[in-house]
Symmetry: C2
DNA sequence: GAAATAGTGTCTGTTAGACAGTATAAC
DNA sequence: GTTATACTGTCTAACAGACACTATTTC
């Protein structure tokens, strides 16, 4: 800190200034964190020969009170005065999944004035990736009715309009969350405006069926980020167990990217990120496959 | 919004619930925005033949009151209750540079408990890129003493320690801000911990000479992001005037990346992002060069 | 013609995409 | 042998890095 002997215009030292400082003079918004907790699990297999399919899952919580009572929201809560934003996020994560040491990344801070009808709430969103074999049941039978939903998010309309100095690109995404009991969905519109050199992207929830607040657009944003980062970082491994086959890894990439990859090319791409072990799968209805583990010395040039 | 006829556990409708809601029950932090306003300007040229050198500049404000009185801080301020976070950032930008329509991007939200000695302040940082030919003098002779600083940020120590399940990578960066009158600097430490599949990066200001709050680490973070994004997006054009030569564009890339690029390769890389005009520079002490403009239809695959 | 920058051509090695082929377990 | 998956080899086109070369203006 600076030397406290300097006086300000009112003739106060730093010590005196801080003692007199009254933060309550100004009205302040509430601050919360919203957690996007993703995992990948196996869907039951069709017959003894076939491999199980993988699906991307997201944890949601059923709201027990107003507003949006009965709808589903992202887990989260208010930040306490004695914890950092990140500590708040870790606390929420621990409360929901009972897991400590996990991949977590700050995504974006959402600050529209009317995003919460109770009061002004600014929310910092975090994405966490969980290996499903690590998962506690706790998240499934908690008092507050937390449930995993299968996520899918597809672009279903794209419209480009040329303007004088650029163009406007409008996209509509269909977000669907489902499990055995519930089917909720939303339509998110993203509008990219390019005018001269400046480009801007806005995001808006056009329609929401059962998804509380503006959480549908937060989910869409997170999935975009996830799809983007899986291409050039190692985040996918946070969704994998300690040992895995290359086909399982490929399935995780495919389910996130929502498209099929060619096996030979995929294996070349991730070759340096994995280390082979001497173990093999067994009791598959076909040729067993070698198990691999993550190579922690893989270097991501960007970090 | 959901149908307001549903009752919660206290038997209240949504309307009644919201009417009774008292946000002031909970203590709340203050929310601010910090702006990183970058531009690239010409350094005077050495002789009539040589091209001017380009330098990266950042706008800072001298603090007139406690805390950190007399030190330099990022422009910014508290978010008002009737404006969104983004609107707050745009307002600050307008106040400091008097420019409206500009590239601006949310960077990160900083939420450590003790980052401001006055009270708990959480700050959302935004990066803005400004074409210097657009710049108003206003930022230079404002009451609050705003000044442009030349920025440089170099890695000067890197230390990798292998651990049981991964490694720890510690880096020290030297951040220097200078102009004719002032020289301020800081040392920022980043620690990347890789343990099994999970990796985490922490950032810390080790030493700060004249840079207020935790702003040195926000600046280091922004420069990393800028270096990263210039490689695969078109953000650099936000720093360029309407018309520019390819050498000027290359200089901007070089000053941000802090390394030299080969001309032929650079031109191939950016070929699709620019459109040539029929104009040429004149009165250079050497062969004139063609002027180009940004191609707004260049498509960034990632967005 | 000297100084300085503008601009192009090409070699080389690496990478991404497509596809075709061989290998091996369970039943 | 059938089924289903495991795993490998190779062709091609695109791209990145390095370097050498030619062109054009002012003074």
């Amino acid at each position: 800190m600076s030397e406290s002997k300097i006086l300000n215009k009112q003739g106060l030292t730093e010590e005196q200034f801080l003692a007199a400082y009254d933060a309550s003079k100004f009205e302040r918004p509430s601050m919360s964190v919203d957690m996007l907790i993703f995992t990948v699990t196996d869907e039951k297999k069709e017959n003894y020969r076939k491999l199980p399919e993988k699906v991307l899952r997201l944890l949601m919580i059923k709201r027990a009170d107003h507003p949006y009572i009965g709808q589903w929201a992202l887990p989260g809560g208010f930040i306490q005065m004695d914890e950092s934003v990140e500590e708040g996020a870790l606390r929420e994560l621990k409360e929901e999944t009972n897991i400590d040491n996990i991949y977590m990344e700050q995504l974006y801070t959402w600050g529209d004035v009317d995003r919460d009808p109770r009061t002004r709430v600014i929310s910092v969103s975090y994405m966490a990736l969980v290996d499903s074999s690590n998962l506690d049941v706790r998240a499934n039978d908690d008092a507050d009715d937390a449930k995993w939903f299968t996520v899918s998010c597809n672009l279903y309309q794209e419209q480009k309009t040329l303007t004088e100095k650029g163009y406007i690109l409008q996209r509509l995404f269909n977000l669907r969350l489902s499990n055995e009991e519930d089917n909720i969905s939303a339509v998110i519109k993203t509008v990219k405006t390019v005018e001269g050199k400046i480009s801007r992207t806005e995001r808006e929830v056009v329609e929401s069926n059962g998804i509380a607040f503006d959480h549908a657009k937060i989910i869409e944003y997170a999935i975009e980020r996830l799809r983007n980062k899986i291409e050039y970082t190692d985040i996918a491994f946070n969704l994998m167990p300690e040992r895995f086959t290359l086909t399982e890894l490929q399935q995780v990439y495919e389910v996130i990217l929502d498209r099929e990859l060619l096996k030979a090319n995929f294996r070349r791409k991730i070759a340096d990120m994995v280390i082979e072990t001497n173990e093999y799968t067994k009791d598959a209805g076909h040729r067993p496959s070698k198990l691999f583990r993550f190579n922690p010395n893989w270097s991501d040039a960007s970090e």
